[in-house]
């Protein structure tokens, strides 16, 4: 992923953050806890992604068995830079119930994609260290013979996205489904190519570009990304480029894979 432009504004929690000088200081978002402690010229970092919100008895104190990473910052800044990043695998989201999409119809859904935090000393060219904000379960999209490893989205898709509230640690991903076939399509899962999406930020929320899926009656289709901030976040700045391009060869691959999932968008009748 290429280095993004530094955004003017991002939701609270992201951007520059100062590590503890006299002891570890904790940065917390969702289930992620990141402890940082500056000792002279060295910086000690430790992180943990909790099993759930309940498993956090004392967030200020790092667990005794925490593995610490010691780094030597290259720049003059004493801060850490924290930026959001999309997951490193595609995501499978369940539709709210089973969705029937009539021929020629369009449907807009809102998904909330889990994020990872990328961290490094500010002004340093060092590689980013990555920590997931929540533990993700893995799933398989395709058949036992071929397919793709994905993460499961805990939260299903919300119908519509006009008044979707911002959630910390999650990026809003608007999905527009267009049935270009002659028959009704029945959908129960959507595979989101997270690696092909850009990430945008305003001071209120993080979001991705709109994902448009054109589906035909046989379950095949193409997908494209908007390439700009979605309508839900006008004026948002791009903070992360896609990790991979949605090339011609990949078009429809995801949808073809999904066709093999039990109950996935098969034409009715």
């Amino acid at each position: 992923m290429s280095a993004p432009a530094t955004p003017v504004s991002m939701p609270a929690g992201w951007g520059l953050w100062q590590p503890g000088e006299h002891g570890p200081r904790v940065w917390a978002m969702d289930d992620c806890r990141l402890w940082a402690h500056r000792q002279g010229t060295m910086l000690r970092l430790g992180s943990r992604t909790l099993a759930g919100p309940a498993a956090d008895p004392d967030p200020e104190s790092p667990p005794p068995d925490l593995a610490w990473l010691t780094v030597m910052p290259g720049g003059p800044s004493r801060d850490l830079e924290l930026r959001p990043a999309l997951p490193d695998l595609p995501l499978v989201a369940r539709c709210p119930g089973t969705l029937d999409l009539p021929a020629g119809a369009e449907l807009r859904l809102a998904l909330h994609l889990p994020l990872r935090v990328q961290v490094r000393p500010a002004g340093d060219g060092a590689p980013w260290l990555e920590v997931p904000l929540r533990q993700l379960r893995r799933t398989w999209a395709g058949t036992p013979r071929s397919g793709e490893l994905c993460y499961t989205l805990d939260r299903g898709a919300d119908p519509g996205s006009g008044a979707v509230p911002a959630r910390p640690g999650l990026a809003l991903c608007p999905v527009r489904l267009c049935n270009r076939g002659d028959g009704t399509l029945r959908l129960d899962r959507i595979l989101v190519p997270a690696l092909s999406l850009s990430l945008y930020a305003t001071v209120e929320r993080l979001c991705t570009d709109e994902l448009v899926m054109h589906l035909s009656a046989d379950g095949l289709g193409t997908q494209e990304t908007g390439g700009t901030a979605p309508a839900e976040a006008p004026g948002a700045l791009r903070v992360a480029e896609p990790q991979q391009t949605l090339a011609g060869g990949l078009l429809g691959r995801t949808l073809v894979g999904l066709r093999d999932l039990p109950g996935s968008w098969r034409p009715r009748g």
Partner: protein
């Protein structure tokens, strides 16, 4: 030595000095390009074909340059070939089996295969044999003929695999609850995939336990350590839920079927003498 003979020897030297490295370079190039564009295994085969064809041409050219009559040589080679053929049936069989293996492609370099009692990662596929590295780091050479004759299992051909874990619970346990606990355990084990969905099957009413089978799917990369992780989680999950994993029970009866044996404590007596 006349001038013509010297000229011939110089030509042979040029053939060998230029031709041999050229053949080696060409075969390496073919291996790399075909390996990148197709599969490493096909790259290996392409490289070998080019090497043997090039070396054969080079040999024929050198012999011709040295004044050998190739027609006579072929005739002699035919007679020798019959004699050698009888003596090297196994080798010939292995070579032909090797070609069948290449055409059929039941495995590729890097696959984990089981042949008979041997399981290992394919290191190389050669003219006479396939070389494996076992998981405990032993080197195993399997003749190609054996691979054609025996049942071969490719453990890593497909990207995901089903893992089956037998679990026994006490007869008094509520099976619906056991099923729920096992599925929860499967969903909370990181290596287990959400889909294809984990399943619990009731397999037998055993001598000491109700036998179940937990089916989960994992990626081939996780296969080796998934079983251990799953067993650990299942044991912990059943313990937490207070579900008994019984050990074998044996009831002995004597005489009347309804009367169990009476167990009586006998005081230890010091051994006499």
């Amino acid at each position: 030595m006349d001038a013509q003979r010297v000229e011939s020897l110089i030509r042979v030297a040029v053939w060998l000095v230029v031709g041999l490295p050229l053949v080696v370079l060409l075969s390496r190039w073919a291996r790399r390009v075909a390996g990148q564009r197709l599969t490493p295994q096909r790259g290996l085969v392409a490289g070998k074909i080019l090497f043997y064809a090039g070396a054969g041409l080079l040999l024929v050219s050198v012999l011709k340059e040295l004044g050998f009559q190739l027609t006579t040589l072929m005739g002699t080679a035919g007679i020798i070939g019959i004699a050698v053929g009888f003596a090297s049936q196994t080798s010939v069989s292995n070579i032909i089996s090797g070609w069948f293996l290449i055409a059929e492609e039941p495995f590729a370099l890097g696959d984990l295969v089981t042949v008979g009692e041997t399981t290992g990662i394919v290191m190389s596929i050669d003219m006479l044999s396939v070389k494996l590295r076992t998981q405990d780091n032993r080197f195993v050479r399997i003749p190609n003929e054996t691979l054609i004759k025996e049942t071969l299992t490719n453990q890593t051909r497909f990207p995901i695999r089903r893992l089956e874990l037998p679990v026994g619970v006490a007869y008094r346990e509520d099976l619906a609850r056991v099923r729920t606990v096992l599925l929860e355990v499967a969903h909370s084990t990181p290596v287990v995939l959400d889909e294809p969905e984990p399943q619990v099957m009731l397999t037998a009413l055993g001598n000491s336990s109700v036998d179940l089978l937990l089916w989960v799917w994992v990626t081939r990369a996780d296969w080796v350590h998934a079983r251990s992780q799953l067993i650990e989680h299942v044991k912990a999950g059943l313990d937490r839920a207070g579900i008994e994993i019984p050990f074998p029970h044996l009831s002995l009866y004597a005489g009347s079927a309804s009367e169990p044996l009476t167990i009586r404590m006998v005081k230890d007596e010091p051994a006499a003498g």
